[in-house]
Subunit: 321 residues, 2 copies
């Protein structure tokens, strides 16, 4: 199959070719990289929503509920689950898994799961690649579900147009975790399991923290709403859909000025992630081909050398000044 | 102050010099790197314990309880908290914070917290650096507390001699998360909040999963125990201390064969993390000095280019073949 044929099929929404391209991309095949260059700007109308939060807050149930509502509106949807605990990746209890499986036969839905794929930023680069392919397939919305506290949420936020941070009542630490650096990464906050004790408290705490926070240029003119939901029975879901639509209008206003700022940030991070992954692959392959990596590790472990000196040597040998 | 004087003071356990070195290391000062080369093998008797798990499982309370017991045994302790939600990093509710503060005036304890420090592996490299300095200070035990599900736990495991994975009853997803790839990263499993409903169920599930799992060469001859605890009132803590001592004996047996394997893995990862951080710093500085990074990002965002093509160009320009 030529690159042209593959591109044509993916632009027409072909699931088999899209899945193959994602695999080839992970394997670092040169043809896949060439195809990505040409697919990169073929999408563009897709909305990318990030759904993030700690394990057990109900992200997957919420993602599933959003997916169902989007399908009812006739929209095509891609789901990228970057979470070993997500039912979408097969890592959850049986009941959840069965519930999600409904979507497996729906042609308007394309689900792709990414487990943890090791070190050196490979996961972030892979996730971005999958989102790009789904955009090229013409999906109306791509939902990116990630688990994490801290950096992970920030990385998702940088990739998504709209980031939803999910929490539950009663995790005192949780609200504090949100406070510690990721508050500004969220465009919409969801307090799921709204019937639990302490829900009002959690909502009030979040709202007062958000009121105090100064939004950067990225979020000027937008006050993140706090939406209580109960994802299992659907309460609050309409409010969340409305908040998502509001945020989309906010991004689009003023000739899409804010959306452009976000896309600029995404472009910068995407480039650096790709460079990081490729450079490390290159260096590790080079070290391994000289059998140097194991040698060096053994010298360090044996006390004959240390990682700081060896790092200097590797960099001097492999990077020109 | 000369490098010799700094090294001498740190080897004697000087907290001020140690803290300054950690700061200089984060700032990438050349003198700090030179000192690290000479400190790297000056420790060696220190036991490094990793304590990891999701937010809300009580890792910090457990770390605090272990710390108290180690001090009662007359051991000196370092704590590295890599967790924005940890009371050690000041990110928790007031009660916890006050409780931890007891240790602040104890000269046998050195606490260092690291918040999320951005992209490109900088956090892992920083954490390893802090552990190395604490080893050089002669601490008997270094406790590394991290939050995370997935890759983070695996990274801690690679740095620690003994990794404790903490969970609580009633997080169905949690056990599944452990299943999904990180089971083999744990040397000891703790089911904290043992009075909660479902505790026996969680313990049984973990034990059957551990029985099924094949241990790699790294864990041959060791069956990870599952220890129920209640960190707030101290129940189960003696069992956990015993499990930690058992694991230490296991690592040391057979002339320290298993410990050597772990130190080899740690050396390899430490080298690659350092290289990654340094290479990315180098490349970003180079791109920024040419004002290329913003230019490229703008071209990508404007649809004139794509990250895959730009990555090729950057690599061709900056890395020799």
């Amino acid at each position: 199959v030529t690159a042209e044929e593959i591109i044509e099929k993916i632009l027409a929404g072909d699931v088999r070719q899209a899945a193959r391209l994602m695999r080839d991309l992970d394997d670092g095949r040169p043809q896949a990289l060439e195809i990505m260059k040409r697919l990169y700007h073929s999408g563009g109308r897709t909305q990318v929503w990030g759904i993030t939060g700690s394990p057990g807050v109900g992200k997957s149930t919420l993602t599933d509920a959003l997916l169902t509502r989007l399908r009812q509106q006739g929209k095509t949807v891609g789901v990228v689950a970057v979470d070993p605990t997500s039912p979408f990746t097969g890592g959850a209890i049986l009941g959840d898994r069965v519930r999600m499986q409904r979507h497996a036969t729906d042609e308007g839905v394309f689900i792709r799961s990414l487990a943890t794929r090791g070190h050196f930023g490979g996961l972030t680069a892979s996730t971005r690649g999958v989102v790009t392919v789904m955009e090229a397939m013409g999906k109306d919305v791509v939902l990116v579900e990630t688990v994490g506290v801290g950096q992970d949420e920030i990385d998702v936020a940088r990739m998504a147009d709209t980031t939803v941070i999910v929490t539950v009542p009663g995790l005192g630490d949780e609200v504090q975790a949100i406070k510690a650096g990721i508050l500004e990464a969220g465009d919409i906050f969801v307090v799921n399991k709204m019937d639990r004790e302490g829900a009002n408290n959690a909502i009030n705490q979040l709202e007062s923290m958000l009121a105090l926070e100064r939004r950067g240029t990225r979020g000027q003119g937008w006050t993140p709403p706090v939406v209580p939901t109960c994802a299992v029975d659907g309460r609050g879901l309409e409010d969340l859909m409305k908040a998502l639509a509001d945020h989309h209008r906010y991004l689009d206003a003023d000739n899409g000025r804010i959306l452009k700022l976000r896309r600029l940030e995404r472009a910068r991070m995407e480039l650096l992630d790709l460079i990081q992954t490729r450079v490390m692959e290159h260096l590790i392959a080079k070290l391994e081909s000289m059998h140097r990596l194991e040698e060096i590790a053994e010298d360090i472990a044996a006390g004959k050398s240390d990682p700081y000196s060896e790092c200097d040597e590797v960099i001097a040998a492999l990077l020109p000044q």
